[in-house]
Amino acid sequence: MSLVNHVGDRRARLNRDAIGAIAIIAVAVCGYFLFPNNLALLTRVTAIALLVLSIDLVTGYCGVATLGQAALFGAGTYGAGIAAVHFGITDPIVMLLIGVAAGAVAGLLSGFVVLRAHGLPQLVLSIALVHLAHEAANKASGWTGGSDGLSGITPDAIFGVYQFDLWGRTAYAFGIVILVVVFLVLRQLVRSPFGMLCRGIKQDPVRVRAMGASVHGTLIRMYAISGAVAGAGGALNAISTQVVGLDSLSFTLSAEALVMLVLGGTGSLYGALAGTLAFIWFEDVVSAANPFHWLTIVGALLIAVVLFAPKGLYGSTAAYLERRARKQA
């Protein structure tokens, strides 16, 4: 009986993942037809969504608050950019893989630093890391171009067929494919025994240690994985915009990405996507409608979310639907 349930559960979860992937593609297609002149912005949304997903891995699943994830995003951007400019590697898939690897290494290193403390000191360590990376990239101008950034990145056609065009259609499709693939992989990951262990650590690290699992080792591994995801976002950013600048390593980007995650809701991956889309869309609409007050209105939105939807937009909606379903049953 339990086996049947188990198989049923599994199928239901896979179905839900498929619905998630279809939803991403549906939103992407809508975006393509609704804003054909804004594909560059939409591609940027995709890259940021990868960054926010990576924060969800460490914050939502492991309970490690970080304001320094842009360091990993920037590692991916600069990894891909430096490979293209200094080593002449212009195949977009290879650039992406280099970005992923650079992000993973940066994640591993920053994991060792950030995991040394808890709570506020941990937050401050992550802030210090992203500032350090920013200053280092600024100083190492021979490699990174300093404050001018790296330009002249011209990726080849994907598989030699799909040329990157002026309207950014190829880049957009490329980004959406990466996002869907990463999303499906991460859904599997967070459901695996490893993902469960991470959730256990978030709830009670002492108990997990008492059961014989390595808390530190698990978190470091998750940090490296989150670095790989953020690096993929960074590489996508480098490939699509064809320039690499210091803004991809900024504290502001880190903070905004964390705000997007909390806005959407932590610990489900869906919340990360919903939060990214909602925040950037809201920011775009408000700043176009009233350039003087947009910051005030964004602030008011954040306060409203904490007061009325404390689990974030996605989390609170999901909880509401569940309550209603239970009432009807």
Binding site: I127, L129, L132, E135, F292, T296, A300, I303, V306
Partner: protein, 287 residues
């Protein structure tokens, strides 16, 4: 030797300004356990009020400072009643989101009301002349900032350790339910400590306006610096915060003097080293 002394004096002034502003944050974070990212926004409000009072209304410096502190507290108390009260004890992320939201609102409103330009606070004649220390001259205003820092440190220590209110505050922090059962009005205690913290922020914003100039993005620009100071010192510890301010002020000033092209590289490197060595801060309250 002269350079060393010069750096030491500037570092002391900078550190003391940091101390006056961030000790209030240390109180809210260590005693009330709220990650208050909008602390810098209250310092900024204080600066704006003082600037408006002294420059546009022509009020004297001392009166402007008092007006700034009182005005900021008057603005902050409804915010505490309506918003902060709901996030006491909430998860850290909710506190971060709420206080960033408050910061954004305050920045937006300040930008609208006062405009995007830098605001100066005219200092009185007595603080404008320079004082000779033998090896260099220093503006009296800096000496005033240093003195204010020490006065705040001693005053706050006396307030928390030696007054009846301090006893109630420490009781409410250690065990709110038990303190309430013994007749301590914890809500009042929290409101008063919040007001003190905000008042100190405003005072620091005014006194430090020469080093940290008042402009609309002040609250975001120095948010990280104040957070770093509190976590290096250990939240809730006056001595720790003082030590952290002097140490970080020293590192930052030395870096700017000797290797300006490296920006804040060494500052953040030092922060990482210190926090890794003392995860609870130099002198942290154990939970």
């Amino acid at each position: 030797m002269q350079t060393v002394l010069s750096i030491a004096v500037d570092a002391l002034a900078y550190g003391m300004v940091l101390f006056v502003i961030s000790i209030g944050l240390s109180v809210t974070m260590g005693l009330m356990r709220v990650v208050n990212l909008s602390h810098g926004a209250f310092a900024m409000i204080g600066g704006y009020i003082a600037s408006y009072a002294a420059r546009d209304m022509g009020i004297g410096y001392a009166a402007a400072v008092i007006l700034a502190v009182a005005g900021t507290i008057v603005i902050a108390i409804p915010i505490e009643r309506l918003l902060y009260r709901r996030i006491y004890g909430a998860p850290e992320l909710a506190q971060v989101l709420m206080t960033i939201g408050i910061t954004f609102c305050i920045i937006g409103i300040a930008n609208y009301v006062f405009g995007p330009t830098l605001k100066t606070i005219p200092t009185p004649e007595a603080l404008r002349h320079s004082v000779s220390l033998g090896f260099r001259t220093i503006s009296a205003h800096r000496l005033f900032a240093i003195g204010s820092g020490f006065a705040v440190a001693v005053g706050l220590w006396w307030f928390i350790e030696r007054t009846a209110f301090g006893v109630r505050l420490r009781a409410a922090v250690d065990n709110a339910a038990m303190a309430a059962a013994l007749g301590v009005k914890t809500q009042v205690v929290y409101a008063v400590s919040f007001a003190v913290a905000v008042g100190l922020a405003a005072f620091g914003g005014v006194v430090g306006a020469e080093l940290l100039p008042i402009e609309p993005y002040y609250a975001l620009r120095y948010m990280v610096t104040f957070l770093v100071v509190v976590s290096v010192g250990g939240a809730g510890s006056i001595v720790g915060a003082l030590g952290a301010c002097l140490l970080l002020g020293g590192i930052d000033t030395t870096g700017r003097y000797l290797m300006p092209e490296f920006g804040e590289f060494f500052f953040y490197l030092a922060v990482i080293a210190i926090v890794c060595l003392f995860p609870r801060g130099l002198i942290g309250r154990t939970n």
